[in-house]
Symmetry: C2
Subunit: 140 residues, 2 copies
């Protein structure tokens, strides 16, 4: 988790972290880039990727590899499940207890070691459910 060299707090890194902490959403690197650019117009997308990677390695940020989607980032370090909207792609926290017991079940079922788990919910978010009662946005 902690690297040998303490993090150098550059302006860019500070603003990225600050903007991420002001959000309850789970932005992708380029969504966050748009926000950060309002304060640091010249910041490049690679700085976002590099810092989000470094910050998540140092435990200040949580990186979410969403199945089949782009990475999302989150300044909350506590573990929780997420739900993704099938329509608009937004990701929200799910406030429910984790079920760590299933790791033990899985471990004995498949002979893997050091088993951890993630649960990924998907569904239709309240906003999209309202917009599209007939559930056919893309297919038209």
């Amino acid at each position: 988790m902690n690297s040998l060299h303490p993090l150098r707090m550059t302006q860019q890194r500070r603003v990225i972290l600050d903007e991420l902490r002001n959000l309850t959403s789970h932005p992708t690197a380029d969504e966050l880039h748009l926000l950060v650019r309002k304060r640091l117009p010249k910041i490049s997308i690679s700085t976002l990727y590099r810092n989000l990677e470094i910050l998540s390695a140092s435990g200040l940020v949580r990186k979410m590899d969403v199945a089949g989607q782009r990475k999302r980032f989150d300044a909350t370090t506590s573990k929780h499940y997420h739900i993704r909207c099938d329509k608009c792609g937004r990701v929200d926290d799910v406030h429910m207890d984790l079920i760590p017991t299933i790791e033990e079940i899985a471990r004995s079922a498949c002979r893997y070691e050091s088993v951890s788990h993630r649960v990924e919910f998907t569904g239709i978010c309240p906003h999209c459910a309202e917009d599209e009662p007939f559930e056919r946005r893309d297919e038209l």
Copy 2:
């Protein structure tokens, strides 16, 4: 699930499906490409991608969007959880009961509709655990 036009069973499509059914693993498109090429040397990777997409849309194949990894495919249509090896990336089935009740819990916890879920286990597969008891393959 079913399209209006019945599937045209081309040689390529038949071989792709056949090879996939002969596997218990969950190959990526290009892993399967290598296998299929032994029987159809001229088949292109785009044909693999196109067919795997079509076959999964028609329910003959299951497409797995693994978080942060490339897509994998599976000829088993029944639902089950998977576990991925953190070292080598292989994906195995986990033979345990699904926990559909958590969908209801999540639904009431976050106001989404049509909630479904997937559980993704990760760990160290038996083979890698044997190879690397000290668990530091990449970092050297």
